[in-house]
């Protein structure tokens, strides 16, 4: 079978909210669910300015290590979150903390969210992860965090407890540039 060539990415442009805004986007789970947490922060550019026309998407396992499947109840844990940044560059989702997950070679990945960021000026999404500061032992054993060159790089992926949830800023560029991944 011939393999078709992949379709290239293009920027979402400045009017992304027209097509990508969901009223329930930030609710990975019903906020009234026991154990629901807020995870949020700001999206910041290399000039130190906040990005007011971006989109943060998250994907994760649930507290039981299970990923949502087709056929799950519409009201169930969705695993997926989507939040446009506001005029101050702020975004926030409501979710449940994921479980650790098995990885290759018998290793275990610490609880994490996979993250895509889209914005005007990003010709292709950037991919990052969010870990949790209060999972220090799990983070220390995480193969992805361990693959990074130094603590400063690891710190860019770790959300801090704050205001009953977790905070993490995503820096697209500059001295505090977030670690971004490729496949």
């Amino acid at each position: 079978m011939s393999t078709p060539p992949l379709t290239p990415a293009q920027t979402v442009g400045p009017f992304l909210s027209l097509g990508l805004a969901w009223p329930d986007g930030p609710c990975v789970v019903d906020p009234a669910t026991p154990g629901a947490i807020r995870v949020g922060g700001r999206l910041v550019d290399g000039h130190g300015d906040t990005v007011g026309d971006g989109l943060v998407e998250t994907w994760q396992a649930g507290p039981d290590g299970r990923f949502p499947q087709p056929g799950d109840a519409a009201s169930a844990f969705r695993g997926f979150g989507r939040c446009l940044t506001d005029a101050k560059g702020a975004w926030e989702i409501v979710t449940l903390k994921p479980a650790p997950l098995p990885a290759a070679d018998g290793e275990t990945e610490a609880p994490h969210l996979d993250v895509s960021v889209f914005a005007r000026g990003l010709l292709h999404r950037v991919v990052t992860r969010i870990y949790f500061a209060d999972e220090a032992a799990a983070n220390a054993a995480d193969p992805v965090l361990s693959s990074l060159s130094d603590d400063a790089a690891r710190e860019t992926l770790i959300a801090r407890p704050a205001d009953g949830g977790y905070r993490i800023d995503i820096h697209l560029q500059g001295r505090h540039e977030t670690v971004f991944f490729r496949f």
């Binding site: 079978m1 393999t3 078709p4 060539p5 992949l6 379709t7 290239p8 990415a9 293009q10 920027t11 979402v12 442009g13 400045p14 009017f15 992304l16 909210s17 027209l18 097509g19 990508l20 290399g46 300015d49 990005v51 998407e57 994907w59 396992a61 039981d64 299970r66 949502p68 087709p70 519409a74 695993g79 997926f80 997950l101 098995p102 990885a103 290759a104 990945e109 969210l113 996979d114 895509s116 889209f118 914005a119 005007r120 000026g121 990003l122 010709l123 292709h124 999404r125 950037v126 992860r129 992805v144 990074l148 697209l172 560029q173 540039e177 977030t178 670690v179 991944f181 490729r182 496949f183």
Partner: protein
């Protein structure tokens, strides 16, 4: 296949001014494809209204402009159909104006019967189909006398986090291709993949022209851990 060696644009593209402070500058780190990467959200028909695929029927009257059908298949890099995946689109109206507060130009009118947003879910064979209006070219401030070629923004999920793609579809033979830094950011060999084909067979006589555009997402990697997912 890695992003750096693949079909995608580089993040830094000086001719597109908005990349200057937003393009990451450090090398991307390889991310292994473990459970979170090989899975992804699957949205059913509950995310899509009955008429969301027809952008000409959403606001109580016929929008102005050339009615078109845009259709195609979503497949992966191994050529396999991707069924039941959400496809979201947004675009300017026939005058090249976006129904968005950020597009404040008074030189092009809004159309009260057109928002320019639609969504659908692919069928069992990976097929999608929209009915819409051909968008106009859009002037922007990137450089002197800058115009974007007519385009429709597409957002596709696929079946895995690794497959997520947002891109733009263009129309054949647009004279603005040669002047557009956003299309030019794509490696030359891959640019034609963003241009739809005129599809006479799918045209509806005396009603709408048709364009076909297939979307190819990264192939899915099998994982030894899938058996651990309930």
């Amino acid at each position: 296949m890695t992003d750096s060696a693949g079909p995608h644009p580089p993040y830094a593209w000086p001719d597109y001014g908005s990349t200057r402070w937003r393009a990451p500058q450090r090398p991307l780190v390889p991310l292994p494809e473990n459970l979170t990467e090989v899975t992804g959200p699957v949205f059913g028909a509950d995310r899509v209204g009955e008429w969301d695929h027809d952008l000409t029927l959403q606001y109580g009257g016929e929008p102005l402009g050339q009615r078109i059908i845009v259709h195609g298949r979503v497949v992966d890099g191994d050529g396999r159909a991707i069924p039941d995946t959400l496809v979201e689109v947004w675009q300017a109206n026939a005058a090249g104006r976006y129904h968005h507060p950020g597009d404040e130009r008074e030189s092009a009118p809004l159309d009260p019967h057109f928002s320019g947003a639609g969504r659908t879910v692919t069928d069992a064979d990976g097929r999608y189909r929209f009915v819409t209006i051909k968008p106009g070219a859009y002037p922007w401030k990137n450089h002197q006398n800058a115009w974007r070629p007519a385009h429709i923004h597409f957002s596709v999920f696929g079946r895995a986090f690794t497959q997520r793609l947002v891109t733009q579809m263009y129309f054949p033979d647009d004279p603005l291709f040669a002047y557009d830094p956003i299309l030019a950011s794509v490696p030359e060999v891959a640019r034609p993949r963003l241009v739809a084909s005129f599809d006479l067979d799918a045209t509806k006589p005396e009603w709408a022209l048709a364009f076909r555009w297939d979307i190819v997402l990264l192939g899915q990697r099998a994982t030894p851990f899938e058996s651990t997912v309930a």
